[in-house]
């Protein structure tokens, strides 16, 4: 039950963040989508034994998170919640790939360890990017951007409605699960029979709701077309934002900046 409420709250909270009014929130959703996709593309394009070149990419979240006013504690909580999955998918690397890859002093580090670490870093960067995108764009912003990128209207519209009704149906689901739990007294009432009936009812209610929503749409003259007043016009700041980041990502991708810095530093010391 706790996790039911949690996933709903998470969604709720991210949605709440997206109603903020920072400089980032005001940018055109399209450039934000492009920038984040560029970021992810650059991050995952490294080969698997790469670590140091990935690190400069942390500048992106480091800059975006404070500018967008995203609470770091919330992000950490979410991140830690997801971390076990990343560990699960990466843990096989150190097991299957034991060949020594590098030496730190006398210590041999296996290739698997390196690639495992690399997976964790990729994971961190990519999920942070996704959260940042939603937190500064909002889901409807993303839908609008998709529509502008010529994604079919049917898809965009039902995506928008899906999001709208998540809030209604999730709270219905949470309340029904609550009602079941209150009269269950432990595990007994949580078996498959009440579950099926509960889900069945939720489905029937949903079905009726869809009919009513459709009637409401027809009552307002709906004939297959959705209009939305949302004049999207690229401003200079939008273009600069996007190009500046993409340029940085390319630089980060091409040059192993930590290595360069490291050489300078160690070289200076030696």
């Amino acid at each position: 039950m706790a996790d039911i409420a949690r996933s709903f709250n998470d969604l709720n909270f991210l949605d709440h963040l997206s109603t903020g009014n920072s400089f980032l929130h005001r940018l055109d959703p399209r450039v934000k989508l492009l920038t984040v996709m560029g970021f992810i593309f650059a991050v995952v394009s490294f080969p698997r034994y790469e670590i140091s070149s990935l690190l400069p990419f942390f500048f992106f979240p480091a800059v975006m998170i404070p500018l967008a006013n995203i609470p770091v504690r919330y992000l950490m909580r979410k991140y830690l919640f997801l971390l076990p999955f990343a560990v699960l998918i990466g843990i096989f690397n150190p097991i299957f790939d034991r060949e020594p890859f590098a030496f730190i002093g006398p210590l041999a580090v296996s290739g698997g360890m390196i690639s495992f670490l690399s997976i964790l870093i990729r994971f961190t960067l990519t999920i942070l990017a996704a959260f940042i995108l939603v937190a500064v764009t909002g889901f409807n912003g993303i839908c609008l951007a998709l529509k502008r990128f010529k994604v079919p209207e049917v898809f965009c519209v039902q995506l928008m409605m899906l999001y709208r009704y998540i809030f209604v149906l999730s709270s219905e689901a949470v309340k029904m699960a609550r009602a079941r739990e209150l009269r269950s007294f432990g595990r007994k009432g949580q078996g498959i029979k009440p579950y099926v009936s509960l889900i069945g009812h939720l489905l029937l209610r949903t079905w009726d709701r869809a009919r009513r929503v459709h009637t409401a749409m027809l009552s307002r003259g709906f004939h297959g077309k959705f209009y939305m007043r949302r004049p999207l016009a690229l401003k200079a700041s939008d273009v600069i934002f996007c190009l500046a980041w993409l340029f940085l990502f390319i630089v980060f991708r091409l040059y192993d900046i930590p290595a360069v810095i490291g050489e300078i530093l160690t070289g200076a010391v030696a």
Binding site: V44, F58, T126, V134, V154, V213, D256, E263
Partner: protein
């Protein structure tokens, strides 16, 4: 199971994005041709329902663990394949954005694995064939069970192939398959049973619900041949794309930049070599393809232990420095923004 960004290469991610985007376009066209605009709100609300339903668990008897409704198959049964595929894709989009289930780049793979197989294979070729037009609890049960199991097995195998093609994990093919398929057998059985039970429930309560798609969709079924074609195209696309990319242009991004900047040689020679070696092995589908670095190192004449040692020490120092810098920048901005807003 969702594919994750952390495990995927841009070539595989991009190729699967293209395949999924094509399918979304195709299905949108089909739904539009359907001319049943009732479906648009229905699709939206049903997507939200899948979300809501996944929040509710039940106790799986005798195991103590809990399960919930999967979604793909029941959507296909209720909405027909085209609408269902769009709805599943939408659910995955929301999950990728809000719950970081998978990730943005892996979205293409996930849509294909979790959307294509239930909507265009499991439902029309298995469920539909078994249930036909004469629904009965027994048929619904058999159909759902088989369809869910096969759909999930295919999806899991998709995950395996896509992951291995990407070459980030070191897991050998056989081990990976031996791990994924049985787990998904269990999940498939549970999903099949639950789907059957819920479908029977609403079918008894309101048979009209199951009639909707039959009455509106002109020919709701993709034929086996078409399915095979899409699968083949997807496989050829992925495989071909990857191997072409790997052989011609060892590292996509660098290749592109090289083209743009006209730069002949790139510094990160060992990256390229490494990637080349990996990708060639991968695209050959060798059972034990896990790349041994010593081999890779052997393939790199200019590289011996010492420079690598140097690289790693300075790399660690530089990396640490970079991270500190990033954190500092973050804190500075945080201070400033706390002050100014």
């Amino acid at each position: 199971m969702h594919m994750a960004d952390a495990l995927i290469s841009p070539a595989v991610g991009g190729a699967m994005w293209a395949v999924s985007a094509g399918l979304i376009g195709y299905c949108s066209k089909k739904v539009k041709e359907d001319l049943d605009e009732r479906k648009v709100p229905l699709m939206g609300v049903m997507g939200a329902f899948i979300f809501a339903a996944q929040m509710i668990n039940f106790t799986i008897p005798a195991t103590g663990s809990s399960g919930h409704l999967g979604g793909g198959l029941i959507l296909a049964i209720l909405l027909g394949p085209y609408a269902a595929f769009l709805v599943i894709s939408s659910v995955l989009v929301v999950q990728a954005l809000f719950f970081a289930d998978g990730g943005l780049l892996a979205l293409g793979c996930n849509i294909f694995n979790l959307g294509f197989f239930p909507a265009f294979v499991a439902y029309p070729l298995i469920y539909k064939k078994i249930v036909k037009d004469s629904a009965s609890p027994g048929r619904i049960l058999t159909g759902s069970l088989l369809a869910a199991i096969i759909g999930l097995q295919l999806g899991a195998f998709g995950v395996v192939l896509e992951t291995l093609c990407s070459g980030i994990t070191s897991l050998p093919f056989t081990t990976f398959v031996a791990l994924m398929q049985p787990i998904h057998l269990g999940i498939g059985i549970v999903e099949g049973l639950v789907t059957a039970a819920v479908v029977s429930f609403v079918w008894k309560a309101n048979p009209e619900i199951l009639d909707l798609k039959a009455s509106t969709a002109p020919s709701p079924i993709m034929h086996a041949r078409q399915v095979a074609i899409v699968l083949l195209v997807a496989a050829a696309f992925t495989g071909g794309f990857v191997s072409w990319f790997a052989s011609e242009h060892p590292d996509g991004l660098e290749w592109a930049i090289e083209k743009v900047t006209g730069k002949e040689e790139l510094e990160n020679a060992y990256n390229i070599q490494d990637a080349l070696a990996q990708l060639q092995e991968k695209s050959a589908f060798l059972p034990d393809y896990s790349l041994k670095v010593s081999e890779a190192a052997a393939a790199q004449p200019g590289q011996d232990q010492d420079p690598r040692l140097g690289t790693s020490v300075s790399g660690i120092v530089g990396g640490f420095f970079t991270l500190c810098l990033a954190v500092l920048v973050g804190f500075a901005l945080k201070k400033r923004s706390a002050g100014s807003w």
